[in-house]
């Protein structure tokens, strides 16, 4: 019986999600114009769903103080209260309002992951473009260094570095960004390498163009599309790594509200049949699924347009 019930729930959830996505696509198509509007109209439902989720998360993150009924860090009730009209998702081990912490968690968890990914991209793509364009020893040196750094599994490397530098939010961002920038470097270098061998780059070099012009005007416009898609994928990865670290108690530290640590703090409830701790985990999963759906669509579009 339980199984059937679960399956029923999944079916209902999928139907609702599809209906919402359909509505969102209509809305987005109407709200935009020209090329964008046409692209949105042809977007698959999965992608529309993804975009809708991302928009909702953005709104929640920006308006967190307005949406959350209680402050982020204040104890507002007794411990482990069940779901009530006052505390929609109950309270945690310290008596803080879980719904409010979920809302603030959007801002904290997503914000930190976004900042980290952006930093990783800045480092990785600048160095990758440089390595591919300049070539020679610079390229060799950086590529070998990245090879070695990538020979250490990233979570393990992060754990090692966090042991040493401690676990403040700043070190967390820096450590993950540096580790992740190696992956961005690889991609940026590979993609630029494909562009650098083109005749139009040779023509620009023979024209006497200098390095900054070559990189910003001739190469960069041709590598942005794959880099943007990769940004989505890397964001998912960073987001999951940070959540994993927080879950392990080594990432974002209390009392900052964060989804990974919320799962950890309330995990015991699951064994009592309470699904509340699954909600922050689900929130992480939902955003990652959403981003992946959008990236998948973009990649498909890019490969389709090439023909």
């Amino acid at each position: 019986m339980g199984m059937i019930f679960t399956l029923l729930w999944i079916a209902v959830a999928l139907t609702v999600a599809m209906a919402l996505a359909l509505g969102f696509r209509k809305l987005a198509t109407a709200a935009t114009r020209g090329e964008t509007s046409r692209a949105l109209r042809d977007a698959p439902l999965t992608a529309a769903f993804g975009m809708m989720v991302i928009v909702i998360y953005l709104i929640v993150a920006i308006l967190a103080p307005l949406i959350a009924p209680f402050p982020e860090r204040e104890i507002v009730g007794t411990q482990f209260q069940p779901w009530t009209a006052e505390h929609w998702l109950g309270t945690d081990a310290l008596g803080r309002d879980l719904f409010s912490r979920m809302v603030y968690g959007t801002r904290n968890t997503v914000g930190i992951a976004f900042a980290t990914t952006a930093l990783a991209f800045l480092i990785g793509s600048v160095l990758g473009l440089l390595a591919a364009t300049v070539g020679g020893w610079l390229d060799q040196g950086m590529s070998r260094l990245v090879d070695v750094l990538m020979a250490i599994p990233s979570l393990i490397f992060a754990l090692l570095l966090l042991t040493i530098f401690g676990t403040s939010i700043m070190t967390l961002i820096l450590v993950i960004a540096v580790i992740d920038s190696t992956r961005v470097f690889r991609l940026a270098r590979a993609v630029s390498e494909g562009v650098v061998v083109m005749d139009y780059i040779e023509a620009a070099r023979l024209r006497g163009e200098r390095l900054p012009y070559l990189i910003t005007r001739e190469i960069l416009p041709n590598v942005t599309a794959p880099l943007v898609a990769e940004f989505g994928l890397r964001f998912c990865f960073v987001f999951l790594s940070i959540s994993a670290l927080s879950f392990l108690g080594l990432g974002i530290q209390p009392p900052t509200a964060d989804w990974g640590s919320m799962v950890r703090e309330n995990a015991t409830l699951i064994t009592f049949g309470d699904i509340t701790p699954l909600l922050p985990a689900g929130a992480i999963a939902l955003l990652t699924v959403a981003v992946n759906f959008v990236v998948d669509w973009q990649l498909y579009r890019a490969s389709g347009l090439k023909e």
């Binding site: 042809d42 083109m198 005749d199 139009y200 040779e202 023509a203 620009a204 070099r205 023979l206 024209r207 006497g208 163009e209 005007r217 001739e218 416009p221 041709n222 389709g304 023909e307």
Partner: protein
């Protein structure tokens, strides 16, 4: 059509290709018939739908294509109505296929013999050992070296020309009624092409196999086909037997195809001034491999030097040395009598400006993210310091020069242009620098013949108007005949022979020049037969196709 010896009868064939989410017609109602033992040549430029029709004759459509209408009647069976199982029993056994690139179409994981015996054994035509003996026999007929042993090599261990012959032998393995040849010699050098053409024609004749021979090269099809059908954008233009078609084409399009080979620029009087560019005793190497060996030649203003050779002859390397991309190990390049620095990074802006380059693939030579305005404007801005309204005027002037309407094109991206238009933009970009010397690297070889002729005429006109010196790198002797004043023949990094065009095309030649010249197919349908007999009687050394 009550012909009893009719093998293939295609009626009103329609094929769609997928473009985004829509299906667009590629083949728009083509009829095609083939008698037993007959060879039909399918001719057309890129996008004519000839390969698609060839595959449809096997009841096959590539991913992203679908056969949407018509009948394909092969020996009394409608292939469109046949089950996949029945089609499979025909393919390889009664209808075989020879692909354009043998190197890519042989499975790299298996030996040639393994791939040869697959069809006869799987289709139950003969046992494995019999098939292997048969393979050796066919390899011998195809004049492959070491026919006993070559089957036990992997594809990567065999040269391109040999692979193409091995693939033809493989197609013959079940003695099919019909073979589809899809541009089988397009990827080969001219001297190799001859041998493959001769071998294919021989074996098709011997077994009385019907064939559809697909190509864009008129002269090649004239040697191979009994009948020729001409296609344009998925529709038939006309069809006739080979000799009639060559002698008396009816349609304007066909006539224009025939005419392209007749363009010849007016003879230039030799002003014999000081050369603009001279290459002096240049040797160069990639790592330990020497690719240029003591190469010298001059290029004068208002004159075109054609550098001719097959792949690997060093003709493109010579251009790289002149532009400074590959510093020579020995020798130097003079511009107006003064030596240029070997590395382009050490050259002055003016030295860079005066030597411009036009590339073979306009697709990769134009940055796809820049508009025509930026593409042409940048050199004018950089070298000549033009800004604002002056720059805009100059860009428009350049577009007029290459016969493109500025208002229509100036803000387009390269992807919104046709192949010929892209190549014109490449020319405009070179002109924007106001150079004295332009290197044209196979500029017409990626283009259809009619478009190519337009480009050649344009370059010819510009040379006269702007006093340009051209270096024309090409493997195509028809282009040389059309546009060159002087010819440099290269082989394996050395200059074999050089001189004014008139002398070069008049015997006596250096043996390699002779081989090269005689290997270029001519429109005469008897050309291959005559050539082979002539070579046999002279016991001419065949090319080194190892």
């Amino acid at each position: 059509m009550a012909d009893s010896d009719l093998l293939l009868d295609i009626r009103d064939l329609r094929i769609d290709g997928k473009a985004g989410d829509d299906w667009l017609p590629i083949v728009k109602g083509v009829n095609l018939t083939l008698k037993k033992g007959e060879v039909l040549g399918l001719i057309g430029e890129s996008g004519a739908g000839k390969s698609t029709i060839g595959l449809a004759a096997m009841g096959f459509a590539r991913d992203g294509c679908r056969i949407s209408g018509g009948t394909i009647d092969f020996d009394g069976v409608d292939l469109r109505k046949s089950s996949q199982d029945n089609l499979r029993r025909l393919r390889g056994k009664r209808i075989a296929y020879v692909a354009q690139s043998a190197a890519a179409s042989f499975n790299p994981a298996h030996k040639l013999m393994e791939q040869y015996v697959e069809a006869p054994v799987r289709h139950g035509v003969m046992g494995r050992s019999e098939a292997e003996r048969d393979a050796v026999e066919l390899y011998r007929k195809m004049q492959l070296p070491n026919p006993e042993e070559i089957g036990f090599r992997f594809p990567h261990q065999v040269s391109g020309g040999q692979l193409q012959r091995a693939m033809t032998a493989m197609a013959m393995s079940c003695r099919p009624d019909l073979i589809i040849f899809d541009e089988p010699t397009t990827a080969l050098d001219v001297t190799t092409q001859i041998e493959v053409l001769a071998a294919i024609r021989d074996i098709v004749e011997q077994f009385g196999t019907s064939a559809i021979y697909i190509t864009h090269d008129l002269a090649v099809v004239a040697q191979m086909a009994d009948r020729i059908k001409i296609l344009l954008r998925g529709e038939e233009v006309e069809e006739a037997d080979t000799r009639t078609m060559l002698a008396d084409p009816q349609e304007d399009y066909t006539k224009s195809l025939w005419a392209v080979r007749s363009f010849k620029r007016s003879a230039q009087d030799a002003p014999k001034s000081e050369p603009v560019v001279s290459v002096r005793n240049v040797s160069a190497s990639y790592g330990p491999v020497q690719v240029l060996d003591d190469v010298s030649f001059d290029i004068h203003a208002r004159r075109t030097v054609a550098v001719v050779g097959e792949s690997g002859s060093g003709k493109s390397t010579a251009a790289r040395v002149i532009t400074g991309l590959l510093p020579p190990t020995h020798g130097e390049v003079l511009f107006d009598g003064t030596p240029l620095p070997a590395d382009y990074r050490k050259r002055t802006r003016d030295q860079l400006r005066h030597a411009q380059m036009i590339y073979q693939m306009a697709d990769t030579a134009l940055n796809p993210k820049l508009t025509i305005r930026k593409l042409i404007g940048r050199p004018a801005q950089m070298y000549l310091g033009l800004r604002g309204r002056k720059l805009n005027e100059r860009i428009r002037e350049l577009l007029h020069l290459i016969e493109m309407e500025p208002d229509e094109f100036i803000d387009r991206l390269p992807s919104e242009l046709s192949g010929g238009q892209k190549q014109r933009i490449g020319i405009a970009r070179a002109l924007a620098a106001e150079p004295r010397f332009i290197i044209c690297d196979e500029v017409t070889s990626a283009l259809d013949q009619i478009v190519a002729e337009g480009i050649l005429k344009l370059l010819d006109r510009l040379q006269g108007e702007l006093n340009l010196a051209y270096m024309f790198i090409t493997h195509d002797l028809a282009t040389v005949k059309a546009i060159a004043d002087d010819v440099v023949v290269m082989q394996k990094g050395r200059v074999v022979e050089q001189g004014p065009k008139e002398e070069m095309f008049r015997p006596p030649h250096h043996p390699y020049t002779d081989l090269l010249l005689s290997s270029v197919p001519e429109m005469d349908p008897d050309w291959l037969t005559n050539l082979l007999e002539e070579r046999k009687s002279k016991d001419h050394p065949t090319s080194a196709d190892a």
